[in-house]
Amino acid sequence: MERFRDEVGADGAVCVRGGGTRWTLGMSPYVEADEGPEVRVVTAPQGIQKHDPAEMTVMVGAGTALTDLAAALSLHGQEVALEGPPGSTVGGTLAVGHSSVRRPRIGAARDTLLQAECVGADGALFKAGGPTVKNVTGYDLCRLLVGSLGTLALLGRVILRTRPVPEQTIWMTGGLLPSDVLAACYRPAGVLWDGTSTFVRLEGYSSDVRDEAQSLALLGLSGVDGPPSLPMHRDRWRGTLPAGGVLEVSTGVLHRPDPAPAAPVAPAVRALADRVRAGFDPRGRLNPGRDPYLVTA
């Protein structure tokens, strides 16, 4: 952490690079730098510090690849509710804040972060949250950091909530409407809709998955290898499905082939967000070109 802190330093614009998988989301960190001063690129520490299966927590460097984390956790039959494209890091995935399509079952990305050791804009280390799975001590700064695109502080080392890997997982698809599928099963892990077919992910004990699969089969659904491939841009549900779009039914996240503009933000909310950002980074040195309010969903 000290190395990371020194690398960030107390002056000059910096951006932190994870896997670079969503580097331009919310604008490139370089944008302002094209005309202005240089933006230094820093990377967060890597490595799994401590996995504690009986606590269901893991302490990990934010620069660790999600795949490395997943491999280590799976040795004890656990996982975290973070997902990203190949190459994603823990820190990058938290900074982006997108949840898995399995969110209805495994929870949101923002509920995964229990504690974060960060470097602030003043170059000093500070800690948000705490190490336990339940905690209301002080303000919930972890919630603020997830999805903030590194504009408030840079994540160095984090403690994440883990969960048991389900015994079995299957995908099914068919022409039934998503609402009928939802009504027919108890807490499916994810329901997707592409305008013609519904895809549902069932997970849990094999016996439960088998029972639900049987009742869905009676309604005309059949097994399938996986979900439809998700088009690359994210949007929020606005009442119609665009061509080539795939909707996450329970969470309203729409995956679409073409980018959509971010939803307008109420001026009073924007003003509050600007005060938050200015409070944490008065000189605008952290990921200066990025703006979480330009992310569509």
């Binding site: 504690d52 009986a54 606590e55 039959g77 656990q78 804040g97 929870g107 949101a108 923002r110 509920d111 602030g120 000093a124 280390l125 500070f126 800690k127 705490g130 190490p131 336990t132 799975v133 339940k134 905690n135 209301v136 001590t137 002080g138 303000y139 919930d140 700064l141 919630r143 603020l144 997830v146 999805g147 502080a153 969960r163 048991p164 108890y186 004990y205 016996s207 439960d208 029972d211 639900e212 929020r236 549900w237 969470t251 309203g252 939803a263 933000v265 109420a266 009073a268 909310v269 509050l272 967000a273 005060r275 938050v276 200015a278 409070g279 944490f280 979480p292 992310v295 569509t296 969903a297």
Partner: protein, 490 residues
């Protein structure tokens, strides 16, 4: 006299003007300035006495709340939101005569959308009333604090409250999707979004748990949870509390996350059993309630696994509730624990810390030792599944000097919990009760980051000031726990 007398007179004149403006804003019949109302709202359910309420405003709408906030801050006066006053950390205790904004009349369930599994409610909807309203729909509101018959959803949001079933389902934050909030500058915003995460910073997420210091929630959109198709409840009893604690860890480590996992020690059982007849064995050192829910096949697998784990770790008996009546009886004991304990001694102080669940047994033993040294009685009833301890100190407040010992015991509980890698609060919040302990857990840099966030919401420092973060300023006549005149909990 001169100086002080003049100041008092100016303050009174200031208050008269404030009251006049409040009356003009929401109507004189809805502003109370008499001693009765101000006394009633001077405390909550914590043991903190000595709060002093200013004018008490009964808001009926978002506009009323916004008007009261604007008037208060225009007069440079602080304001504090009031729910049902069941808070245990002094969050609603007024410091230095703030405007108290009471939301009792904002108690409507505004909209229930069963298809989208969402409800909009006003802040004073009582937690259990929402779930009762939903009965038969196949959905419920998951957060279930033990106070759910009395506490409000606004209070739940402010304290990010938990409850037994939050082990599997998550605390309030996981069930609040959007909030309409009156900010401390009087503007009204919606934070969060009904469907997906709102764009930008998770301002909804930080508002939840902010204990009224970021503004006042006036409408709340909550996510509704489907009722589980199968529920089974087990009662295990142990002759050693360490065995019970090890069972808890073993269940979690085996990959089972029960819907709830609650523990009671012998002291609590002895108090509860005569009242409720839940069937808890009186000679056991600890009883453990484990509730499993989900699809029927998985639940019966888990019942066997939990029973096996219990026996392997020394459970004397493992009882699986045979029917709904037996299940309700087992829970009735747990849910009425606090009421029953009030019969032992007139005063009690319910503490709240979290420790790593693998260290529960040693922490409980250490706390017991420390409290005994102070010649007080402590018993435990807690959310074992997530390591959330609730040491309960019982005492007679009329005994001279007892409050000093109660305060010392509280400090010991905090010290022991933190030394074990724990935190100050799992669900009751910091309020006034624990703000002085914050520097034991957080560095000055950590606290500065929290203050930055607070200042972004509350630029003038008038929203429920003095709560959560330690400051040198004092809350009027509240002197700290050592001088509390009498136990509360009536």
């Amino acid at each position: 006299m001169g100086q002080n007398g003049r100041m008092a007179a100016e303050t009174d004149r200031g208050t008269d003007l404030l009251v006049a403006d409040l009356e003009a804003a929401i109507g004189s019949e809805r502003v109370a300035v008499g001693g009765g109302a101000r006394r009633l709202y001077s405390r909550d359910s914590s043991i903190i006495a000595g709060g002093r309420a200013g004018p008490v405003c009964f808001a009926e709408s978002t506009d009323d709340v916004a008007a009261c906030v604007r008037v208060a801050t225009a007069h440079g006066r602080a304001f504090v939101a009031r729910g049902a006053g069941t808070g245990l950390s002094g969050g609603a205790v007024p410091c230095n005569e703030p405007v108290v904004i009471v939301t009792t009349r904002m108690n409507r369930i505004l909209e229930v959308d069963l298809d989208r599994r969402l409800a909009w409610v006003e802040p004073w909807v009582v937690n259990l009333d929402l779930t009762r309203h939903l009965a038969g729909s196949g959905l419920h509101f998951a957060p279930d604090p033990s106070s759910q018959q009395a506490c409000t959803i606004g209070g739940n949001v402010a304290n990010n409250s938990g409850g037994p079933h939050c082990l599997a389902y998550g605390v309030t934050s996981a069930h609040v999707v959007a909030l309409e909030v009156v900010l401390p500058d009087g503007s009204v915003v919606v934070l969060g979004d009904e469907l997906c995460d709102a764009t930008g910073y998770d301002l909804r997420g930080v508002f939840v748990g902010s204990e009224g210091t970021f503004g006042i929630a006036t409408r709340i959109a909550v996510r509704l949870t489907p009722d589980p198709p199968a529920v089974r409840t087990l009662l295990l009893d142990f002759m050693d509390i360490a065995d019970a604690a090890e069972t808890v860890s073993a269940i979690i480590a085996a990959g089972v996350v029960p819907a709830a996992m609650e523990m009671m020690d012998q002291g609590v059982v002895a108090a509860v059993e005569p009242f409720v007849g839940a069937g808890y064995p009186l000679d056991a050192a600890a009883v453990l309630i484990v509730e499993l829910d989900g699809l029927p096949a998985g639940v019966s697998l888990e019942v066997d696994l939990v029973a096996e784990m219990g026996r392997a770790h020394g459970a004397r008996t493992v009882r699986v509730a045979a029917d709904e009546e037996e299940r309700a009886r087992i829970w009735k004991g747990r849910k009425n624990a606090f009421g029953a304990i009030a019969h032992i001694k007139p005063g009690y102080y319910l503490h709240d810390t979290v420790v790593p669940r693998t260290r529960l047994a040693e922490v409980v033993a250490e706390i017991n030792e420390a409290v005994e040294r102070l010649d007080l009685i402590v018993m435990h009833v807690f959310h074992a599944g997530d390591g959330n301890l609730h040491p309960l100190l019982v005492f007679d407040p009329r005994e001279p000097g007892v409050m000093d010992r109660v305060a010392a015991a509280g400090e010991e509980i905090v010290r022991i919990s933190l030394a074990a890698g724990g935190v100050l609060s799992g669900e009751h919040g910091i309020g006034l009760e624990k703000r002085r302990f914050m520097p034991m857990l957080f560095t000055p840099a950590d606290l500065a980051a929290q203050l930055r966030l607070r200042r972004a919401f509350d630029t003038q420092g008038l929203a429920n000031p003095l709560k959560i973060l330690p400051t040198s300023a004092s809350c009027g006549d509240v002197m700290g726990l050592g001088t509390v005149p009498e136990g509360v909990w009536t």
